[in-house]
């Protein structure tokens, strides 16, 4: 697994727009985060994977909050810890609401390690149309921002902003907000 210096180098390249480096960082981060969340949620590996995905989106959408003069792992784990605390708070409220234990649910023995409970592709459908379309075209259909702009009649910066906002909204949906 990558250490502080390697991760930091990847993030800095990613911030400069290097797609491969950004992907490599998120992949390394996913492995570290998986270990982090599984350690803290031993009995619920599926929740751990939810949190891994949620945190990856958070790391991506808030990546400009990283300042190179501070340690990268401190930044990453601060966000991970915050997602965990937010999750536990939500879980606490849910359990409060259903004292009869409806929430417990059975554990699937053939549960696949990197599958999260919530399905991001379904959640994408709940985004506002403009944000959903922008993410769909650029992030899933692999079109360039320019092509997506031409297809939707929006400006390129509009597409970029919609993607960014859409991913932020997505993280909130993953965290179970607005899905009531």
């Amino acid at each position: 697994m990558a250490d502080e210096a390697e991760l930091r180098a990847l993030v800095l390249k990613g911030l400069a727009g290097d797609e491969a480096a950004h992907r490599a960082f998120l992949t390394e981060a996913a492995a570290l985060l998986r270990a982090f969340f599984r350690n803290r949620l031993r009995s619920r590996p599926e929740d751990a994977e939810d949190l891994v995905q949620e945190t990856l989106v958070a790391l991506h959408t808030r990546r400009d909050s990283y300042d190179p003069q501070y340690p990268l792992t401190a930044w990453m784990y601060a966000i991970a810890r915050y997602r965990l605390i937010d999750f536990l708070r939500r879980a606490g409220r849910r359990n409060h609401a259903s004292l009869d234990g409806i929430d417990v649910g059975e554990v699937d023995p053939v549960y696949e390690a990197t599958d999260a409970k919530h399905d991001v592709s379904v959640l994408l459908g709940q985004l506002p149309e403009k944000q959903r379309k922008a993410i769909q075209l650029v992030k899933l259909e692999e079109k360039s921002v320019r092509d997506a702009a031409a297809e939707t009649g929006l400006t390129e910066s509009d597409i970029k902003i919609s993607i960014h906002r859409g991913l932020k909204t997505l993280m909130r949906l993953m965290a179970g907000e607005g899905a009531a």
Partner: protein, 212 residues
């Protein structure tokens, strides 16, 4: 969706990140908050009628409040982003308010014993600034919450307290235009306490709006 696919989606076509310019945005927000606070004071309370003659006390009370805001600022800025060390920034706030306590004691010692109570309370039955400063600080706090949607605070209670205190300092700057009491001990005690009230309200209320 599998995590690998999510990573693909996130990294596809990633663009160079824009420089966030936190400090400039924060400076603009605080300035707007100060103007709104000043308007509130002018409309709601009225500028003190002797403001011409009382230039010096108004000035030093404004400077005192500004100093409090400046001392809290580095701490607030660190808390707004994830994983930043706080270190000396907490120490600075503690030292500032310790000096306030010291100044209060020194100023009161300088008064005749029978005048101490009056100097401390400013001759009023109740130091209303403890209530009014938080009210005037509220718009600044709201603006800061709005600004923080683009930030990523991870310690919400502490961030809420820092934002509250920072707004309190800005609110106190505006309040100084109205405040009729000029004794040193009054300001170092009750302005500080008003800022502490803002910090407490921030920890309790503002923090709820910082979730992301």
């Amino acid at each position: 969706m599998k995590t690998d696919k999510l990573i693909d989606m996130l990294s596809r076509g990633v663009e160079p990140a824009e420089k966030p310019r936190w400090k400039r945005k924060l400076a603009i927000t605080l300035l707007v908050g100060l103007v709104v606070g000043a308007v509130l004071v002018t409309i709601g309370l009225g500028v003190r009628p002797d403001i011409g003659a009382a230039r010096m006390p108004v000035m030093w009370k404004t400077l005192f409040s500004a100093a409090a805001a400046v001392v809290i600022l580095p701490l607030a800025l660190q808390l707004m982003r994830p994983g930043r060390p706080l270190g000396w920034r907490i120490g600075a706030v503690v030292i500032f308010f310790a000096l306030c306590a010291l100044a209060t004691i020194v100023a009161l010692m300088g008064e005749m014993p029978e005048r101490r109570w009056e100097a401390w309370m400013g001759g009023a039955a109740f130091p209303w600034c403890v209530v009014l400063i938080p009210v005037i600080a509220a718009p600044t706090a709201a603006l800061l919450v709005w600004l923080l949607r683009a930030f990523a605070p991870t310690r919400l209670t502490m961030t809420g307290a820092a934002i509250g205190a920072l707004s309190g300092g800005v609110g106190a700057m505006a309040y100084a235009m109205y405040c009729p009491t000029d004794s040193v001990a009054f300001v170092t005690t009750w302005y500080s306490l008003a800022i502490a009230v803002c910090a407490a309200l921030g920890a309790l209320i503002v923090s709820k709006f910082l979730r992301w």
